[in-house]
Amino acid sequence: MSELTTLMVNGDTHTVDTSRDRPLLDVLREDLGLTGCKIGCGEGECGACTVLVDGQTTRSCITPLSAALGRPVLTVEGLAAHGHLHPLQQAFLDADALQCGYCTPGMIMAALGLLERCPDPSEDAIIAAMQGNLCRCGTYARIVRAIQQAAAELRAATGAGQ
């Protein structure tokens, strides 16, 4: 059943007229044009659709719109500010932690979710947190390095700001 629904994404409030049963992924992509979150598997197994909901790492392909109502949603499009990449985005470029790039937005969002709850993760903690994200091109080691670099930069920035 279609109904008017208010959704908060990347700091903006959107009103969509749609069924609350639709996957959050589809609403982000089809209604809001935010195609950074990708269609990969439809069962939450590949992580290509990862976004943050209330700061929590969320597989948007198996999350109904209803579960995101009233909670801030962050997609990869919301990371870069005023033409400046987020440290995670820059670290992925610096480490060349991608090939085809299809997994990259989901990887970055899953990494952000990790760093929000654990600013100084061990390598094992990174691997454990990222285990649900697939990169078929096999850039895993580079992604780990990118997350470590970004974590260090974010900690330094936080320390400097205190």
Partner: protein, 693 residues
Amino acid sequence: MTETRPRTTGPDAGQSTGDRRLAPLEPDAPAIGDWLHIERDGRVIVYTGKTEMGQNIRTSLAQAVAEELRLPVSAIQLVMADTARTPYDMGTVGSRTTAVMGRRLQVVAAATRELLVDLAAERWHVARDELRIADGKIVHDPSGQAISFGELTQGQRLTQEYDDTTPITPADQWTIAGTSVAKVDGWAIVTGERRYTPDLTRPGMLVGKVLRAPAFGATLTQLDTSAASLPGVVVVQEGDWVGVVAPDRLAAAQALAAIRAEWAVPSQIAQEELFAYLKDHLAPQIEHQRFGGSERYERGSIAEGRAAADHLLAQTYTVAYIAHAPLEPRAALAEWSGGTLTVWTGTQRPFGVRAELAQAFGLVEEAIRVIVPDTGSAYGGKHTGEVAIEAARLARAALRPVKLIWTREEEFTWAYFRPAGVIEVASAVDGDGMLTAWEQHNYNSGAAAIQTPYAVTNQLSAYHPSLPVLRQGSYRALAATANHFARETHMDELAHALGRDPLAFRLQNLRDERLRAVFETCAAAFGWGVQAPPGHGFGIAGGTEKGSYVATCAEVVVDQASGQVRVVRVVQAFECGAIVNPNGLRNQVEGAIAQGLGGALFEAIAFANGTILNNRFSSYRVPRFADMPAVEVILVDRPDLPSAGAGETPIVGIAPAVGNALFAATRIRLRALPLVPQALPIASGTRNEAIPR
């Protein structure tokens, strides 16, 4: 369809693709302007039919052009894989982009550079040798004059023909090529701005879904679509082919689910019978071409080689069907306008897909445009145009643009697989450890790299096409993985049977200097010859394919109680001639090792009666973060040699290296890929034997 079937991947794949005036074959694109255009503002546009799908060619090809034009990479823009804008291309296959397209664009760019010098010399009435090129300008130092490329050519199409013999810059003088230039569009990728085919929209676009049979070969016996006629939904039926279009993905899925269909499923080959079936069901001679054509290489006399030997060994190896599982599933967006059709789709063969569309819809090829957005990987899995045809059918019926994105289950079932195969090797060795005969037969998986790189006087290698059991086709490195797995496992078996060191035994029988070099480089970096820690094993393997060379050392550890296997360390040396982008190449080699680990250890398609049983990522295991060993890649740069492709060959060493390491750790010889789909049954001593001979 097999890997070398001409209509999909063969060297003559362009023969059926119609009007050469509009879709010229490569030799028919003789003008500089076919490949390269200089805008008035000096930007250089390069046209290539190749697809960027993660190999980094959008960057590395730009480097090649930038080098010859003495321009920064940022001044070069590539238009790729668009049948209306780029010269005909047989496909992004066979590691040919760097070796063939890279070389062609170098020549075109060098010819452009010479042309620009000619134009400036003419304009100023000065001698050519008084001119130099810098920063997008031709400069005449004696007079202090300078003119930009854009001013010289005024945005005109460069109709001059380029000369294949135009000298290109030698690799040892490269300043832009040969360096680790960052990805030209990395920013768009990490910000989510890059649009892959599933991300595209068109005005008025609808979303499609297709009704699938429950098994291969099934026929529709009953159909009731009445419940699917929901608001906004169009049901499309053409014979037994049924699809729906709807405003969004959920509505399309709900409409499809409302269709009631009954199917008759014929009895089909069981997985347990697979290898015996392939061995026993060779494609009839007359049909060989359909399955890639048999290949046979013979030198010397196997009988004489055996007669001269002190040791004989014969073993059989098998490889399972595996899936490419590109993270971007097959997708297409089709739009009709009058009698013309435009399709955006992620494919390695835009011109091949255009030919498929022309055939499917009875159109001339010039009425069809196929545009390939940069694609979320393929690994040899996106040669064919099924999804493009389906989207175009739906769009034609709906009278609207339609986007169709295959589900993961569709991708795992209705695409195609790397062929399963049976490989028989029979070898003969004399008392000095020299190979005297080598015979290798590959049933069904393919001919790639079937010939041994070792120095053997008497050899026979043959590929025997079988009647395929599942849909099969190209895969990264084709059968080079299977043939190297069999050969390099067998070499290891021989070394152990003779009591010789596996590396020393290989080098003793190897004259190819490039292959020797990567073996020695890899072994030195790995520390070959040191005793492995308890429970650990070291393995080595190597080979050559498509002009590049690889050697791989692996260290595994096996839990003696559980039989759990872990690959803890991989060292790989790789040489592909002159390196165009070291970091991009390193990334490719690392990725090939990672992907190869899946096929080596656990990937296998499970099927029963024409149905794929593990058609999801939750049931088909692919390598994840925790599966990664420590990887060290050593790139052997050879600026004195032409650049060869590097997307495929780095994958062929990992499976035999790991299998050989597992033997070293456990004394259990594994002759089937995947090696350890479950934990290694150490206690029971059960072997992962290939089929009985």
